[in-house]
Subunit: 222 residues, 4 copies
Amino acid sequence: MARTIGSHGPKTMEAIRKAGLRLIFEHGYAAMSLRQLAAEVGIQSGSLYNHISTKQELLFELIRDHINELLRQLDRALQGQERPADKLRAFTAFHVSYHMTRKREVFIANSELRSLEPKNYEEIVALRGAYERRLAEILSQGVAEGEFEVVDVQVATFAILALLTGLTTWYRPGGRLTKEAIVAAHEKLVLSSVAPGTTPNQAQAKRPLSRSAATSAKPERR
Amino acid sequence: MARTIGSHGPKTMEAIRKAGLRLIFEHGYAAMSLRQLAAEVGIQSGSLYNHISTKQELLFELIRDHINELLRQLDRALQGQERPADKLRAFTAFHVSYHMTRKREVFIANSELRSLEPKNYEEIVALRGAYERRLAEILSQGVAEGEFEVVDVQVATFAILALLTGLTTWYRPGGRLTKEAIVAAHEKLVLSSVAPGTTPNQAQAKRPLSRSAATSAKPERR
Amino acid sequence: MARTIGSHGPKTMEAIRKAGLRLIFEHGYAAMSLRQLAAEVGIQSGSLYNHISTKQELLFELIRDHINELLRQLDRALQGQERPADKLRAFTAFHVSYHMTRKREVFIANSELRSLEPKNYEEIVALRGAYERRLAEILSQGVAEGEFEVVDVQVATFAILALLTGLTTWYRPGGRLTKEAIVAAHEKLVLSSVAPGTTPNQAQAKRPLSRSAATSAKPERR
Amino acid sequence: MARTIGSHGPKTMEAIRKAGLRLIFEHGYAAMSLRQLAAEVGIQSGSLYNHISTKQELLFELIRDHINELLRQLDRALQGQERPADKLRAFTAFHVSYHMTRKREVFIANSELRSLEPKNYEEIVALRGAYERRLAEILSQGVAEGEFEVVDVQVATFAILALLTGLTTWYRPGGRLTKEAIVAAHEKLVLSSVAPGTTPNQAQAKRPLSRSAATSAKPERR
DNA sequence: GATGAATGAGCTTTCATTCAT
DNA sequence: GATGAATGAAAGCTCATTCAT
């Protein structure tokens, strides 16, 4: 990939983002050196600075742009859905599909938050919170309407997101299953997981879950 | 100067492991410097080498010891369970409980596999495969006995593991929920997720899933 | 900060080689630190790596380039000489002269072979063998034509080379003797040493010296 | 060799000297680590300090003891010889024989002088000077009596010593030649080298060689 | 006399970043 | 916009040496 010697202009920036995405995905932000990145792009490491301001900024922009796009597309995917189950199915289908085509962006946005400097971290976490809230609200609505049953909405939100995002660790194009099959498999799991039924045993929260606590607790960086 | 009075060998090793666990959990393996680690332990960085052979070896042993312990305890937790639902509940309860007390080990064992050198990586992935296989077999049995319904056992295995392991990214002792509540919340989600019901739409695998492909595919490092 | 004005690439490389030569000559390869070398050149130690790839590579190239040059010039010096005595005189004069102007290179090429990694060592020893073979052949020819008398050609070859190369341990420009006097002194010693005469006492080799054994024995790294 | 676990007392000291000799011979003083040495002896590196005071002191004593022994034995070997040729033959035979049985000591005493700290260096060089002077005096006497002819006594002294000492770089027991043959080969070379004959071309010293200049010049460390 | 664990300095090498050209 | 050469800090690791046990 890349390495088109002499590439310049916006093409170079694009190559940097692409290569950066791949290298961070494979080795992690801290383990990726700008020399590696530059070599991948086919330029000297000093030349990177004609396009990026710092390594940190590159990471930040990759993540921020990704989450913004994710949010934009999620809202489009949810449009027109009214009933909680439909919303949840749409959410799941969108999430899985998106993760299959952008697995590197998604993976990095989840795994490299700790590599962000505080200011950047805050900004990204706020955006991520918006995404999580979409799901939390779907679940809350479903519970309120009696369509869903969960022990705890907050836990269910995190669990379902983890379930769906786990995809990025094993999915690869051209595998055994079609994309549709993978989407279907996840829809089944997610929709069933919150379906009403015999709850194993009744557990109590130590404290009631206030609306804000549900999403803004942030006890530590995660 | 020689050794500070009162600091002993095994105690130092234990301090190194503990601090290493914390630092890798917080910053990642690549971003943790041995100087940091040594400072945390209260010795010079060169002194670490009286206890570890390399940074890589430290990571490897932390992960390997963790997975071995995990496997050992899992098998004990599953003892005596016969029906798939009971097994799955036991698996879930054990997994969640264990992850709450050893969240750093668990997190690292999942996130730092890519930091392992090939030989070490192979060894850990083999161990991890054993763990995954326990769950895959529970699901298979449940499906065969008509107790569970999943679109694809392999996908369900990965998804459920991801769901459960996601816990490590947000759990912290002293939070809003009791441990029991957290376990219960996950039991509900997991048991429901594979419960028979209306599968959204029928999807087909491109290829049938052979037994071995299910667990040994390893298309790329994950 | 960036580069100091006026310091250029090739000039820096040349300064590194020159300073490296001197430091290795004075302290030995293992005892020379790259910090020392960099300080000598007037740059930071990390900056060395814009010019060399490793410390080992620097040593290797210094030695290899030297031996290649030595061989090239030797062959020129021997051109036109027919009789063994003339060849031997030419060899001696060339060797001594060259060693007086390049004593550091010569010394290092002899004393630091053990510091070379196996692959580099093999390459250099092969080149050195070519040089030794020139002298061995001159002696053989002289013995065959009855002009020289030696107890053993192989021993004589090594001994004469050692005699000549010893120069590097004491020669310094501006000493008591002119270069010409030093050359003459060595010519006398070398030519006399193989002159026919009364051999002290007749000694026997345990085994006859095969042609190949003479030059390829290499019992151990030397 | 060595590694007799639990060896103690004078036996350990002897093992240290033996192993040190070998390691310095093979890798050089700077490149030999005390950990290596200790491992060879079968103890921990800290334990070395029950026997040596510093690494430098070990080197110094190895060299000093060697040269003292060399001088002692040389004087015994020269006893009873009157005529310069007989003395030179005896010197050569002794030197070669001794170098064959103690090649490591000899090699180190020549190659590691630069690794000695100034004070130690001075002491060793003084001893070495005594050894060189024996040969210089033999040559001077021979020249004075008309038995030898050399262009310059000083140069001849250094050259003959280099010739003889070169042995340590290639000799190994069990090689093609008997010890006697090797001695004979060197006797022929050395005695012939100073034999009167047609001096190639008459060269002049820039300055006459004063008695003291011949041996105490020491223009630089060599 | 040996050990094991420590020190503090030092090693070679890599890093992100800068900037004259 | 790219290069090549620089910086200064820091990396993982090794070193000779010390000393309580």
